[in-house]
């Protein structure tokens, strides 16, 4: 394990302090917590939005804290959901009187910890609503299981719910906007190499010199299929087809698209991958104004990519294009 760190136990702490040190006019750390909030939180008269999860997915989630997106981000240990008390601190700090929306990625741990935090907040009279993002089509959908994972599509929930909240909308309306993204966003990823949780010291899985894994989760959860390494165009087709088949889209529809690097895949390769995706979009006659290509929801230093597509209607598009000014997502 070769990492640019100091003590394994101090990673999240130093990372968070590094973030506030880098962005002192944007971010503030709640003392004694692992919560970063907007410098000016709480914003009176605006619904607060809190997200978060295990660390190791940077720029998620603190990179999306700021005007037009999140009010607070709660960081857990690497790949481990944060605890209820931390989430509760975030809720208290961002509540501007109109209540708080929790944006949770669908992992058992995240759901349970955020839920416990919501119980604590409600006990103190803060209005809280939750949404659970489950965009990863690599996992079979089923009401008998914990269901699909939340991955890069989460960022679009942040953006669109954030824009709705910035308009001054009520908690229920911000909640509805988030749900409408969740209903229409699907993702799928693949990996060429694993990643190493610092405290574990060894990779979460192994792949042969000529192997790749289709459907890997952002915590290195094993995927759905292990195959010989394929050309970028073929890989793009596998991910695209699976995502597309789960969406209800027609020729002429408009979509937002994220090409998300998982950590160590160079931007060069992400654009090569998008080159293939672009052809598939054109074949299906799906319109995309500008694809978002980069690292948005990573898995430490995993090599690989995920493809996310959100079906847009006029309302979603307007909210997506609305201004946001965060460290990692600037629009308008």
């Amino acid at each position: 394990m070769k990492k640019l760190i100091n003590h394994v136990d101090n990673i999240v702490n130093e990372m968070l302090d590094g973030m506030t040190a880098a962005h002192p006019n944007r971010l503030r750390r709640l003392e004694g917590t692992t919560v970063l909030v907007r410098k000016d939180a709480p914003v009176t008269g605006k619904v607060g939005i809190v997200s978060g999860g295990g660390s190791g997915h940077e720029p998620a989630h603190a990179g999306y804290v700021g005007p037009g997106m999140l009010d607070g981000a709660v960081a857990g240990e690497v790949f481990t959901s944060p605890t209820p008390d931390q989430v509760f601190e975030a809720i208290k700090a961002v509540d501007g009187g109109k209540g708080v929306l929790l944006v949770i990625k669908n992992y058992t741990g995240d759901v349970m910890n955020f839920e416990m935090a919501a119980e604590l907040a409600e006990a103190e009279g803060i209005k809280v609503r939750q949404v659970v993002v489950n965009d990863d089509v690599a996992v079979e959908d089923s009401s008998f299981t914990s269901g699909r994972r939340g991955v890069a599509g989460t960022v679009l929930v942040h953006k669109i719910a954030g824009a709705k909240a910035a308009e001054g909308a009520a908690l229920d309306d911000v909640h509805a906007a988030a749900e409408s993204v969740i209903k229409n966003v699907k993702s799928m990823g693949m990996s060429l190499s694993p990643c190493t949780v610092p405290a574990a010291g060894k990779p979460g899985f192994t792949l042969g010199e000529k192997e790749m894994e289709i459907g890997t989760g952002i915590h290195g959860e094993p995927g759905v299929e292990r195959t010989d390494i394929k050309p970028a165009a073929e890989t793009a087709e596998i991910l695209f087809n699976k995502v597309f088949q789960e969406m209800n889209m027609q020729a002429g529809d408009e979509a937002a698209v994220i090409i998300n690097g998982l950590g160590s895949t160079p931007l060069m390769e992400l654009y090569i991958f998008h080159h293939a995706i672009d052809r598939l979009l054109k074949e299906k006659d799906i319109r995309v104004e500008e694809a978002v290509v980069g690292e948005w929801m990573t898995s430490l230093e995993m090599a690989g990519v995920s493809f996310t597509m959100l079906k847009l209607d006029d309302t979603l598009k307007k909210l997506l294009d609305a201004p946001s000014n965060t460290v990692s997502w600037k629009r308008g």
Partner: protein, 205 residues
């Protein structure tokens, strides 16, 4: 008979067993999860140990409630809320009794089991820690005194039963049928939880 001292030994034994099996738990979680279960639990029991060093308690219930708070606020992940909620309900059931009979204890564990079930929305056979909590409590429900050797044996068997299960909850569920053939890490740590209790209770006698 569970005194405050037994409860403390239970938690300290749990700490020891978790630390001894930390790598094993992580390895199990790497196979069908995200590889942090040993790390998560170790963090939790170490913090709990530090807390126990600092504070003294009048009743088993008070001690277990404090342990629950540490688990809730220090572990995170899936296991934090599950162990935390379970211990919280165990403590609530224990109330302010100075000593718990085996029957009291079984009522406590029953409450803990229900907490795991509710918090995790877990059913039996879904390959989670609930598949240790549920059969153990079912086996000993209604007994006057607990045969601690049998108790440990039951926990061990329950863990083994998870190997052939197809996971439906937790991260392992993402693997679908590929989860079959592996031991559930949370089931394994739950066995340690009950083993720690058995050892503490046996010492007592």
């Amino acid at each position: 008979m569970i005194t405050t001292g037994t409860a403390e030994n239970w938690m300290e034994n749990f700490k020891e067993l978790i630390l001894q099996n930390k790598d094993e738990l992580t390895t199990l979680d790497q196979a069908i999860g995200d590889g942090d279960h040993g790390i998560n639990m170790a963090r939790g029991v170490q913090e709990m140990h530090a807390m126990l060093q600092e504070k003294t308690f009048e009743t088993p219930g008070a001690l277990l409630k404090a342990a629950a708070m540490v688990f809730i606020s220090k572990i995170g992940g899936a296991s934090g809320p599950l162990y935390g909620s379970a211990l919280m309900k165990i403590a609530a059931e224990a109330g302010d009794k100075a000593e718990l009979t085996d029957q009291d204890l079984l009522a406590c564990l029953e409450a803990g089991k229900k907490a795991v079930q509710q918090r995790g929305r877990a059913e039996t056979g879904e390959k989670t820690m609930y598949d240790v909590w549920d059969p153990i409590i079912n086996t000993f429900r209604g007994e006057e005194t607990i045969d601690w050797k049998a108790f440990k044996k039951a926990a061990e068997q329950a863990v083994d039963s998870t190997v052939d299960m197809h996971a439906k909850k937790g991260r392992a569920a993402y693997l679908g049928a590929r989860s079959i053939g592996h031991t559930d890490p949370g089931a394994f740590s739950s066995r340690l939880f009950f083993e720690a209790l058995a050892d503490a209770a046996q010492e007592e006698n």
